[in-house]
Each structure stands twice: as structure tokens, then as C-alpha cells.
């Protein structure tokens, strides 16, 4: 690695030395609990739309915890946070454009 890159990496490592270990266990526990809730909901007969909404909500919370704490995004500078996350969310949201077509096929009664 180039010396100046090494210097930045050392600085990042120094910042990470101050992160408490306990928070990672809390996040891990929260992720397991949310997974258990998801499985519990599966064993209850819920309307699919309601079930999907709850499951996706929990998945988004889990994703935020993983990105924020395990991937250390919480500790990055704001340029890094905003540019990466906004780009990702916008690109993924653009794929929603296909869903109206899926509903159209269903309403046509195509087999």
C-alpha cells in the first residue's frame, strides 16, 4: 500500500480501537430477536400484504443495523454515508418501475 494510503488506514484503525465491543453483541442480539419475530409471524395466519409489510420493515431495520454497525458506516464521514447510500437507494428504487406490469399481467388473468 502507498505510504499516504497506509497513513489513512492507520488513522481509520485508530478510530476503530475506540469502538466498544459490547455494542456488537447488542446488535447481534437485536438481529437474532428480529429474525425470531419474523419466524413467529410465519406461524401465524396473517394476510400476505400485512405480513410482507412487517417482514420488509424488519428486514430494512436489520439491513440498517448491519450497514451502520458491522460495516462501520455509522462512523464514516457524511460524504461517504450520503453518496453511497443515496446512490444505492435511488438505483434500487428505479427497479420498482417493473411492478405495475406484474399486476397488469395478473389482472389479465394470464396463466
Amino acid at each position: 500500500m502507498e505510504p499516504y494510503q497506509q497513513a489513512i488506514a492507520e488513522q481509520v484503525a485508530e478510530e476503530q480501537r475506540h469502538h466498544g465491543k459490547a455494542q456488537f453483541f447488542w446488535v447481534w442480539g437485536a438481529l437474532l430477536v428480529m429474525t425470531a419475530i419474523e419466524v413467529y409471524l410465519t406461524y401465524r395466519n396473517m394476510p400476505p400484504i400485512r405480513m410482507l409489510t412487517i417482514l420488509m420493515g424488519l428486514s430494512l431495520i436489520k439491513a440498517a443495523l448491519i450497514i451502520g454497525f458491522f460495516m462501520h458506516m455509522k462512523y464514516e464521514i457524511s460524504q461517504m454515508k450520503w453518496l453511497t447510500m443515496c446512490a444505492l437507494v435511488i438505483c434500487l428504487s428505479l427497479m420498482l418501475i417493473f411492478f405495475p406490469d406484474a399486476f397488469r399481467i395478473l389482472s389479465l388473468g394470464a396463466k
Binding site: 488506514a9 484503525a13 447481534w28 438481529l31 436489520k62 439491513a63 460524504q79 434500487l92 399486476f103 396463466k111
Partner: protein, 265 residues
């Protein structure tokens, strides 16, 4: 003109990064963003098929749900051990770093083995793709034999999505193995390949899929030969980013594919 030099205000020794971190990490983030679009496309394709198909199957019995839940627990635990490996690396504790990396690999392998078992069970029940080796008798008589014929979108999107994820987990284990053990991992990888190849019947897709490990061992050998090095905390952190991403993707596959297609009586 030959003596002219370009000058700028930035000091030559140290140029601050726009993103406040080193290039390797930014490179991995860019790769993960592009990879998330790959998985995004697969997840959207699965959801599209599900919405547009009125007779979408619900083939996952309680046994499959329990299996997938254990797989999820394996991945979540592997993320914890990975973050502890990064922590050990920044504290320059080489022994703890290696142990946590090996623990992460063990959880990843547990995930792949359980996933392989799930695939095998589904294939035996008749859910298959035309590219898979023929399994005599099962396709016609299995519980899911009709599903593959009446709703071909389901096996196509299910095996496509989960197979891509399984490939990522497998390559993640290889990546961590190289970071943890460096060149000593190559013979271990070759042993894994032999075990996976010889330990699975010729009718299993994993019999041929095991050659991914052989290919990975060739690529890793070339990389380690061209650039032998001791991996430092930045390498462990970048490997960790990849591993957490694999975990993150599963957080969407598990509810969308398994829990929303559960058959709980």
C-alpha cells in the same frame, strides 16, 4: 518548456481522501454497490414472478423454515465473529484475528452445508431445473414434480437467487481463508474441492458445482504468487465488508423467499 514543472497546492506526501478513508475500502464499497444491484435485480425478478403468477407454490414446510432459520443464525453469528476479527486486527492481535476469521469461515461453511441439504431435499421432491442432472424417478413422483412444470418461474428464480447467494458465501469463505492462512489455505481448499466433488453423487448439482473451489484455488494461487504479503487490518476490514454484505443480502432473501412461501399447517 522541458524544464517546466506543474505545481499544485496539495502536499506530495499526503492527500486527504474525499471519502475520509483509504482507496481499498472505497473500491470494495463500489463493488458492493454494483453487486447489490445484481441481487436487487434477482430479488425484483423473483417478486415480479410472484406477483404475476396466481398459483405461486408454497413448498416450504416447517422443516425447511427451521433449516433456513438455523442458516440465518449461522450467518448472523458469522457477522459477529467477523467484526471481532476486524477488532482483533486493528488491535494487532494476530492470533485472535486468525481464530475469529476461522470461526467466521466455520459459520459460513455451516450455512453452505445446510443450504446444500435444503437444495438436495427440494430436488428429490421434484423441484428441479433442466440444467440439473436427471434424478431418476423423483421428478415424476415427487411432491413438487408438478410445480416445476406448472410454474417454471419458481424453480428458475429460486435456484437462481439462492444459488447466486450460495456462490457468494462460498467465495467469501475462500476470501477469508486466504486472508487468515495465506498460501497455507491452498492445500486446504484443494481438500475441500476433493471432498465436495467425491462426496456428492453424480446426480447432484453440487458434484459439478464443486469445481468452483478448484477454479478458486487456481485464482488464489496466482494472486498469492504474484503478490505475496501479510494481510493487515485494512485487508481484514475490507474482507469483512464483503462478508457483512453477504449476510445483509440474506436478510432479504430469507423473508421474501422462505417465509412468504411457507406451508405451515
Amino acid at each position: 518548456m522541458a524544464d517546466a514543472t506543474l505545481t499544485h497546492d496539495m502536499p506530495a506526501a499526503y492527500e486527504p481522501s474525499l471519502f475520509g478513508t483509504y482507496s481499498k475500502k472505497i473500491g470494495m464499497w463500489l463493488f458492493l454497490m454494483s453487486d447489490s444491484l445484481t441481487f436487487g435485480a434477482l430479488l425484483f425478478a423473483y417478486s415480479y414472478g410472484r406477483i404475476s403468477t396466481s398459483n405461486w407454490p408454497t413448498p416450504f414446510h416447517s422443516e425447511s423454515i427451521v433449516n433456513a432459520t438455523i442458516m440465518t443464525a449461522f450467518l448472523l453469528t458469522s457477522s459477529l465473529t467477523m467484526v471481532l476479527a476486524v477488532r482483533a486486527a486493528v488491535n494487532k492481535d494476530a492470533k485472535a484475528q486468525r481464530l475469529w476469521l476461522l470461526a467466521t469461515m466455520a459459520c459460513g461453511m455451516g450455512f453452505v452445508i445446510l443450504h446444500g441439504r435444503e437444495w438436495t431435499k427440494l430436488i428429490e421432491e421434484g423441484l428441479t431445473l433442466s440444467v440439473f442432472p436427471r434424478l431418476a424417478g423423483h421428478a415424476a413422483t415427487g411432491e413438487l414434480g408438478g410445480v416445476a412444470l406448472s410454474v417454471p418461474q419458481f424453480p428458475a428464480t429460486f435456484f437462481g437467487l439462492t444459488g447466486m447467494h450460495m456462490l457468494h458465501v462460498t467465495l467469501g469463505v475462500v476470501y477469508l481463508g486466504v486472508v487468515a492462512l495465506r498460501r497455507y489455505f491452498i492445500p486446504v481448499l484443494l481438500l475441500f474441492w476433493l471432498a465436495a466433488w467425491l462426496g456428492t453423487p453424480a446426480t447432484s448439482p453440487f458434484h459439478y458445482g464443486a469445481h468452483v473451489l478448484l477454479l478458486a484455488s487456481v485464482v488464489c494461487s496466482i494472486v498469492l504468487w504474484l503478490k505475496p504479503k501479510v494481510y493487515d487490518s485494512s485487508d481484514v476490514e475490507v474482507a469483512g465488508l464483503y462478508w457483512h454484505f453477504v449476510d445483509l443480502v440474506w436478510m432479504f432473501i430469507f423473508p421474501l423467499v422462505y417465509l412468504m412461501s411457507a406451508k405451515i399447517l
